[in-house]
Symmetry: C2
Subunit: 192 residues, 2 copies
DNA sequence: CTCAAAGACTAATAGCATTAGCTTTAAAGA
DNA sequence: TCTTTAAAGCTAATGCTATTAGTCTTTGAG
């Protein structure tokens, strides 16, 4: 078609790629298919993204930002720290369930060099650490935060990969295990 | 070469594929490269495996079995349950660090339909659940087990994906967070 | 002693990412 | 206003990939 006035933006390409991954799976994200979905020819996206890997990194950065936004939005109300942390955790899990494929892809190493900038996630980690510090004190707060992230991340991945098949309300289990974890840190003696 | 007497076994193919993934990365696992490493031509493995996806599933089953074996071996001695769970957790983490790429691949959904049979992992889960039940009672033991698996899995994935970059001895942090989690299920610590 | 089938091979195919080179058009500077 | 430059589309081509088809050699079962 008419060459110069850009028919697609980089943003449109990245967002469409994200949609294809989420709705049709990563293996359907080919440049043929992506370009067809955008109404252009296969090589044309190369004017906007360097290569497929960079495209995937852009998708992952977009996903990571959406996750951070969702979790921070859930942290807003000002009640006691455990309740806030629990709301953040539930928002985290809800996001992963709404975007299961892109969530997993965002944090996986399977596509090398496509992970988002860790600084992006710090925007989520630092407020959470402040809440955790209310339970554990400053000294232990980094460890406690890391475990909380690990617990949430591991739980939703096991769920999404169908590795928790023995029934039960997994939403309730998730809340129980997060609360148990936080309880374990609250119980620590102060010299920790 | 001489056609009939099999030059490679299915086992040899799967193991070599696993080695290539671990040593050179998943993207270097091509049938050309795999066959060359086995001293045969690219299409020959198709006499032993249906296709690449089935090969990956076989690799993942092998990895899962090795993980289960390593964790169960660590559970053998007969001391108190928390110490045994901690040894299992450390063996779990050690395995993931020894086989970072295959560990992640084994549990990821990025290669569809290549995950191992969940029954394999039950061989690890059931003994662990019995130990957890000593802390929590039968009723809560499934939830507590699931959280423990989630915590271990999530922690090692965050480590392997370089998502825990703020320093510190991550081995010690791992032990701390596992202990905090178990303490949370046991209830308040004795000094309270 | 034969013969069926296992398991190697070569050759071919279709799909993929990516590059090269051409063309049109808007905008920027003369 | 005119010219030029570069953005961004296109088609065509390349090399790598998994996979299939078909041929050939060996061996173990009957």
């Amino acid at each position: 078609m008419s060459p110069y006035p850009a028919q697609v933006s980089r943003e449109a390409i990245v967002e469409r790629a994200r949609e294809i991954i989420e709705n049709e799976g990563l293996e359907r994200l080919t440049l043929q298919h992506l370009a067809a979905a955008l109404g252009i020819q296969a090589p044309s996206p190369y004017h906007h993204v360097a290569n497929k890997r960079e495209l995937l990194r852009a998708v992952n950065e977009r996903s990571a930002q959406a996750l951070v936004d969702a979790v921070l939005a859930a942290a807003e109300a000002t009640d006691e720290p455990v309740a806030r942390l629990l709301r953040m955790a539930k928002a985290y899990r809800a996001f992963a369930h709404e975007h299961p494929i892109t969530y997993e892809l965002t944090f996986s190493n399977v596509e090398p060099n496509a992970r988002p900038d860790p600084a992006q996630l710090e925007a989520m980690a630092l407020p959470a650490q402040a809440l955790v510090a209310d339970l554990t004190g400053e000294a232990a707060s980094l460890s406690a935060l890391r475990g909380l992230l690990a617990l949430m991340h591991g739980f939703v991945l096991l769920e999404l990969n169908q590795q928790l098949r023995r029934g039960g309300d997994l939403g309730a289990v998730f809340e129980d295990v997060v609360q148990a974890y936080l309880r374990g840190w609250r119980g620590m003696p102060p010299e920790w």
